[in-house]
């Protein structure tokens, strides 16, 4: 099977620190790949390259076999790669609908849109509401509620819904459960599986081994700026995975 997203020989240096050292990455259609690694292993740099937030010094990224170059997150987004950042990247004072359409607002048809550049709020609100209820995040009474009035899990839900609404090819989730309680994490994990069932492949970055082993189809173990190995969660235990990523145990031959 040809990977939908493929990276080869990525290098990223920050001064004397080499964050990515000839790193490879593969994501197959319809799967969830978890990326695990110790702190400072270069996970974030890898994800930032794939999401367009960082431009690699060397190497290339192939989307559906086609070479792509991202110079900003907008480029990646235009190609159908959506990222949910750990910080969620939402404007707390703005509404749910405003946040979901930030940077890709819809304008009214006709003169009001083209000359007066008026936003089509009704349409944006409707789509936002539809997307949230599609993912079972409904019971929203007020889509114009400011994001800061939502709980952590609700915000995460809105962020995932935003990604799912626009991410046609790949969704990247950076530590989606790190800041959440047990119950909220559970809901977000279900959301992730739900998104996969729609056929959208997901890259999941997480430190939480139970979560990783529960939802991932394959696990990419990152160590010292490169891919150490890719393991199947059915073949290995969580302690094996931790041993690989910390270097306590020799990695299996890839």
């Amino acid at each position: 099977m040809e990977p939908i997203l493929k990276a080869r020989g990525l290098v990223k240096r920050y001064g004397k620190v080499t964050a990515l050292d000839n790193c490879d990455f593969d994501l197959n259609p319809g799967e969830i790949v978890a990326v695990i690694g110790d702190n400072g292993a270069g996970k974030s740099s890898l994800i930032k390259v794939l999401s367009g937030a960082v431009i690699p010094d060397a190497g290339h990224v192939l989307l559906e076999g086609r070479k792509v170059r991202f110079s900003s997150p907008n480029d990646a987004r235009a190609e159908g790669i959506e990222t949910v950042y750990q910080t969620l990247a939402m404007s707390p004072a703005l509404s749910i609908a405003d946040n979901m359409f930030m940077g890709r607002e819809l304008r009214k048809p006709g003169v009001m849109g083209s000359v007066f550049r008026q936003l089509d709020r009704a349409r944006m609100e409707k789509i936002a509401r539809d997307k949230l209820s599609e993912l079972g995040l409904m019971t929203i009474q007020n889509i114009n509620q400011a994001v800061e009035t939502l709980s952590g899990g609700q915000r995460q839900g809105v962020a995932v819904a935003r990604a799912a609404a626009f991410g046609s090819k790949v969704i990247i989730l950076d530590e989606p459960t790190a800041a959440l309680g047990v119950k909220e994490s559970r809901r977000v994990l279900e959301l992730i599986l739900d998104v996969r069932s729609r056929g959208i492949p997901i890259i999941l970055i997480s430190h939480n081994m139970p979560h990783v082993f529960e939802v991932a189809d394959r696990i990419h173990v990152h160590r010292l700026g490169k891919r150490l190995c890719v393991i199947d969660p059915k073949d290995y235990t969580m302690s094996d995975a931790v041993a690989f990523m910390t270097g306590a145990k020799e990695a299996p031959a890839a």
Partner: protein, 362 residues
């Protein structure tokens, strides 16, 4: 997966009856509701204060204050500050501050005057050059803030001094007298043109407006529309709220910031034009307090100095509140210092309210 011994989440999975993302919330107390209303509509506080102060002075002074003439006089007195404060609001919404607004207004008016009188440039073109100069200075501010990543306070503090000094050097500290302008280039005084509604036969009393007042209202209405109903407006709020988040969610933060400072410069240049209409002459020493007065109007108007919160209507009300206090206290015969004292109290009260509004139940 089979050796997952500590399956602590199974418990949760079983009892997961209710939806986690339940957005409906019972708002219990009346205070919560007030806070929510203010959060959604931050211009409410200054509006209430404005109406309250008009009613109070109206009761104290009767028709001396509560007449079309006196009330429109307030509008005339606040027009320049009102226009500049509209520009200041834009900048403060992006969590910045613009100390150079007054200097930009003055140098723009000086450029309009000097180009007309020193170089004999047709007055229409001089005005256009003045407006362009203001926009250009604003864009430089924006470039330094957005691209060079310098703090707005420092950038505009420096720009204030630079522009003010350039203004004195360029104009050689000369004033262009009102009569000269009237006879040779009346367009410079265009925004000072007055018209009356409801005056008596001798032309006294009645509501008196200037084109500058109309222009101030138009600027406020236009900006209110742009901020609320265009993508650019949403980007201004998002940038002020959290620039990193805005950038990651697809807003071009640099372009937004430069456009904000540029538009602010343009509006200040218009204020410079209105300033010629208001004082009649082109004076390089006018408008020295505009930066502080505009910030005052913005703060009293409930726009958060931390960015991303508040509305341009609030600023408009804030400018009017200052005008109402100034005229009202003068008509009462109070020492002018009482005005400053009360405005000081209002500023601190406004920021206290802002902090309270920010404390939303998470």
């Amino acid at each position: 997966m089979s050796d997952k011994t500590d399956d602590y989440e199974a418990v949760v999975q079983a009892s997961r009856g209710e939806a986690v993302a339940d957005f409906s919330k019972a708002r219990a107390s009346a205070l919560d509701r007030v806070q929510h209303a203010l959060h959604v509509n931050p211009a409410l506080v200054p509006l209430v204060v404005l109406l309250g102060s008009i009613i109070t002075f109206g009761l104290l002074l009767g028709t001396k204050f509560f007449s079309p003439f006196a009330l429109t006089l307030i509008l005339q007195q606040v027009q320049i500050v009102g226009i500049v404060a509209a520009a200041q609001s834009l900048v403060i919404l992006t969590a910045g501050i613009d100390l150079s607004v007054g200097a930009i207004a003055v140098i723009s008016s000086v450029i309009m005057g000097q180009f007309t009188f020193r170089y004999g440039v047709p007055v229409e073109i001089s005005v256009a050059i003045g407006l362009l100069a203001g926009t250009a200075i604003g864009c430089v501010n924006g470039w330094l803030v957005a691209v060079m990543k310098l703090p707005p306070f420092i950038v505009t503090l420096g720009m204030w001094q630079i522009v003010l000094a350039a203004n004195f050097l360029y104009s050689a500290n000369e004033t262009i007298r009102s009569q000269e302008i009237e006879t040779e280039a009346p367009l410079l005084q265009f925004l000072g043109t007055t018209f009356k509604i409801g005056a008596d036969a001798d032309g006294r009393g009645g509501a008196t407006f200037t084109y500058g007042v109309i222009f101030m209202v138009l600027v406020v209405v236009f900006l209110a529309y742009a901020l609320r109903h265009t993508a650019w407006g949403r980007h201004v709020y998002a940038t002020g709220d959290d620039p990193e988040a805005a950038q990651l969610s697809g807003v071009n933060v640099k372009r937004t910031l430069i456009s904000v400072y540029g538009v602010a410069g343009l509006i200040c240049a218009f204020a410079g034009w209105a300033l010629i209409g208001r004082i009649g002459s082109v004076s390089p020493t006018s408008g020295q307090l505009l930066n502080i007065e505009s910030i005052t109007a913005v703060v009293i108007g409930g726009i958060s100095l931390f960015g991303g919160r508040g509305s341009i209507m609030g600023t408009f009300f804030g400018a009017l509140i200052v005008g109402v206090f100034t005229l009202g206290l003068r008509l009462l015969g109070a020492d002018a210092q009482w005005t400053y004292l009360l405005i000081g109290v209002l500023i601190i009260a406004a920021v206290a309210v802002d902090q309270w509004i920010r404390k939303v139940a998470a």
